[in-house]
């Protein structure tokens, strides 16, 4: 067996080991270890991706016992693409924010931050690769605790409140997910996704246990929707994103919620089967909440005076887009949703880092009135913010535009009622996005006489500058080379279930 096939296993275990090691290292060493680890994980996953693209998907036995008895991970094209992508976003977010991590966090606890980062990466990789529901739950636990720690490690009052809110909402989500898994295990007798799938199909055909299955589907979807901050459950999100360290905000917005959404994809495609889901009208519900989130998130973002809160509320809207894509219940909708996971992650983490860069040259204020002219003071951060904002609004050549095109394409192939609603919602949401993002861009480029004494073109930390340049390139790449990625997602999804 080729060594490449073992890379996902090595990845997960090495991340665990590095997480534990970081807890005894000095913050500087832990930072270096974490960056090297994330880079190495990205490289290994890229090798896996290349292998999978050439040879096709495979399952990997975790131990001496084959799947229904032992654990198993499954490596397909979609998983590999997302793993590479998540690793690179993680790498860039940590790299871009590393300067501020040592500033905002107590010296003696700096290493624990990287413990959390490494374990977060482990849990994300495990969530992506797992083929077993209970394994997924275990790593959801790690993910939840690590996310809470990433929020509150910057120890001011706001982050503590935000972390408490996050923990309450997220644990409700975990609880619902766990209840769902137990009921599902009870009626199917399996935890392995493939076996559950066949059992669910058999039960659906025989008409047995219909109520438990329906309720399980509802509980698990609701749990994951809460955890990924779908619109009515988004209340924890603005505080958590706007007060935490910039790296944390970037990781939380672009990776943590996306990990859960990917788990939801797995549930829908690999556990229940999409026909079963459509029969139970779950996509309609998600579609409704997704559309509501698209509009409501944007409207709330318009009211914000604080730049990072505005970006956070924009996340609510973007999560709405993803759920709307799933809710269209056509193959293209799911492709668009997966693509939007990537384009949103690339833009949002860049926006959070750039916003930190901008507020850095404006006396560390996040308020729009102080940020006036900051784009001229720090040109790179201004450029990165503009690219991110344009991408979110949907200006051609950038990632956000492509995903909007895909959403529109998906809406055209959906049923007639959904088509109209989706198109109108897309249009309204795009206009609203433009209202607040273009306003923000205009604000940061409006010269400000009061701040004239501030130095022209302050230098960002070098690592952040490098990360921002990479993010800009990534955004343009996603926007222009989208068909390569779309093909990969399409093939990945076709072999997914």
């Amino acid at each position: 067996m080729e060594i490449v096939k073992s890379f996902p296993l090595f990845n997960i275990v090495i991340c665990l080991i590095c997480g534990v090691l970081s807890s005894v290292l000095k913050p500087k060493q832990a930072k270096g270890l974490s960056l090297v680890l994330t880079g190495a994980a990205g490289a290994m996953n890229a090798a896996v991706l290349a292998w999978v693209a050439r040879e096709g998907q495979y399952t990997y036995m975790m131990g001496h016992f084959p799947a229904p008895w032992g654990n198993e991970i499954r490596v397909g094209l979609l998983e590999a693409v997302l793993a590479v992508f998540f690793c690179s976003i993680m790498f860039l977010s940590v790299l871009g924010g590393e300067h501020y991590i040592s500033l905002d966090i107590e010296e003696s606890k700096g290493n624990l931050y990287f413990t959390m980062i490494n374990l977060m990466l482990t849990s994300l990789l495990a969530l992506i690769y797992t083929n077993d529901l209970f394994t997924a739950y275990v790593f959801v636990e790690i993910n939840t605790i690590a996310a809470g720690a990433l929020i509150m490690i910057r120890n001011n009052g706001h982050t503590l409140v935000a972390a408490a809110k996050y923990m309450i909402m997220s644990l409700i989500g975990s609880g619902l997910l766990l209840i769902g898994i137990t009921i599902l295990y009870d009626v199917t007798g399996h935890l392995l996704m493939v076996n559950i799938h066949s059992q669910v199909a058999a039960l659906a055909a025989s008409g047995e246990y219909q109520l438990p299955l329906t309720v399980t589907l509802g509980l698990m979807s609701a749990g994951l929707a809460i955890k990924s901050a779908l619109f009515p459950f988004h209340t924890w999100l603005p505080d958590a994103y706007s007060y935490s360290v910039p790296s944390s905000a970037a990781i939380l917005s672009s990776l943590v919620s996306k990990g859960y959404i990917f788990l939801l994809f797995k549930l829908f495609y690999r556990v229940f089967g999409f026909d079963f889901i459509v029969d139970h009208k779950t996509p309609n519900l998600l579609f409704f909440f997704g559309v509501a989130g698209m509009i409501a998130g944007s409207v709330m973002a318009i009211y914000q005076r604080d730049m990072r809160r505005m970006i956070a509320f924009s996340s609510v809207a973007q999560i709405g887009y993803i759920y709307m894509g799933i809710g269209l219940s056509v193959p293209m909708g799911t492709i668009a949703a997966v693509f939007h996971i990537m384009s949103h992650a690339a833009s949002k983490s860049m926006l959070f880092l750039a916003a930190k860069g901008l507020s850095d040259v404006s006396g560390d204020s996040k308020d729009f009135s102080d940020l006036r002219g900051s784009g001229c003071r720090s040109r790179l951060a201004g450029a990165a913010f503009s690219v991110g904002a344009f991408s979110m609004v949907g200006i051609p050549l950038l990632a956000g535009f492509t995903s909007k095109v895909y959403f529109a394409e998906a809406a055209l192939s959906a049923s007639r009622g959904k088509m109209g609603i989706a198109m109108v919602a897309l249009a309204i949401s795009t206009i609203l996005n433009a209202v607040y993002f273009i306003r923000a861009v205009i604000t940061i480029y409006t010269p400000n006489e009061e701040a004239a004494s501030m130095p022209e073109n302050c230098h960002l930390p070098k690592t952040m500058a490098a990360a921002l340049v990479c993010f800009i390139v990534l955004n343009v790449f996603l926007g222009t080379w989208s068909n390569v990625i779309e093909d990969a997602i399409r093939i990945g999804l076709s072999t997914f279930s």
Partner: protein
């Protein structure tokens, strides 16, 4: 001519005469004058009084009007304020009531739905149900001992069949301990000296520490070794009898907490410091990850791991399960003790 009395004019006769003649009496004139004067004065006074009264009334009315206006203004202001603060006062109340009602309704409906689901689920313990009669459970029961070397099938399942889950689970404990450390640990200052907060926490803790409680100390003196030995027994026999790393570790942790409560931090610090916590946790988890990585890799590539299973039932059997149980036990014990110490005074 006769002389006229000086008071002739005032004599009765003269007065009568004048009365008859229709002349006015001088006294009357005076009286009249007096009367008129009095009347005039009276009327003047009355007028004055009236004027004063009117003035007063006017003033009163004005002040009343003013008061009334003030009152009205206040009323209006209050109303305006009320409307402004509606969301903070009545709105909150209303919202809270609404919130309570809705949350109760949601809870009750969720409970009802879950009860309905439980009623539909296969009965617990009955054979032939999906979870009870399939090939997974069958192989665990029939072949579990042979394949894992563990008499206790549960241990064989969590540490051999499904070791990946347990690997994650032990790291959940670790990450939870780290999170509590982040949240509650009070550190030394940058110069290496304890900060104010640290000193305060120590001071606070000293008040709660039982000082030389004889009964507690004597009891703990006998109990703690027994508890810890029992914990070690549960861990070491995890693959033979019910027990294992998680339960044994919890028992040892409880023993450590009892020791801390009886003898205080000073005595406990002799053998359990933050360094010990770090070393034990680090070694256990690293060994766990490395061992499992090796065994996963061998398993996936269909290689022999070369770890002997031994005879089921003896202590040194079942391959990696025993060392893994010890690792899990160490991590659980350390985590429990650390939780307690950190919640108590923000440090170990």
């Amino acid at each position: 001519m006769s002389r006229i009395r000086p008071d002739y004019e005032m004599t009765k006769w003269r007065r009568f005469q004048r009365f008859v003649n229709g002349e006015e009496l001088p006294e009357d004139e005076r009286k009249r004058q007096e009367f008129l004067h009095a009347a005039r004065e009276k009327s003047a006074r009355r007028e004055e009084e009236q004027a004063a009264f009117f003035l007063r009334q006017k003033e009163e009315r004005a002040s009343f009007r003013k008061y009334w206006k003030e009152q009205e203004r206040r009323e209006l202001e209050r109303a305006l304020k009320e409307r402004e603060n509606w969301a903070d006062t009545k709105g909150v109340k209303l919202f809270r009531r609404f919130y309570h009602a809705v949350s109760i309704i949601i809870c009750i409906s969720v409970i009802a739905v879950l009860l309905a689901v439980v009623a539909e689920l296969p009965a617990f313990g009955s054979g032939g149900t999906p979870a009870n009669g399939n090939e997974v459970a069958e192989r665990y029961i029939v072949k579990g001992q042979e394949e894992t070397g563990a008499v206790n099938i549960v241990t064989g399942m969590i540490l051999d069949y499904r070791a990946f889950d347990t690997l994650g689970e032990s790291h959940v404990l670790f990450i939870a301990a780290c999170t509590v450390l982040i949240l509650l640990r009070i550190d030394h200052g940058a110069d290496g000296r304890p900060t104010q907060a640290k000193l305060e926490a120590e001071e606070d803790d000293r008040q709660f520490e039982p000082k030389n409680d004889r009964i507690l100390q004597k009891t703990a003196f006998f109990l703690v070794p027994c508890i810890i030995i029992f914990g070690i027994y549960v861990i070491l026999n995890g693959h033979i009898s019910p027990g294992g790393g998680f339960s044994g570790g919890a028992i040892i942790g409880a023993g450590l907490i009892l020791h801390l409560n009886a003898f205080g931090f000073r005595k406990t610090e002799r053998f359990f410091t933050y360094r010990v916590f770090q070393t034990v946790t680090l070694c256990s988890l690293l060994f766990y990850s490395a061992a499992k990585c090796y065994s996963f890799y061998c398993g996936a590539n269909h290689l022999e791991s070369g770890i002997p299973l031994g005879t089921p039932g003896s202590i040194l059997s079942s391959g990696l399960i025993l060392p893994l149980n010890i690792c899990v036990g160490c991590v659980v014990a350390c985590t429990m003790y650390t939780f307690y110490a950190i919640f108590r005074k923000g440090g170990i």
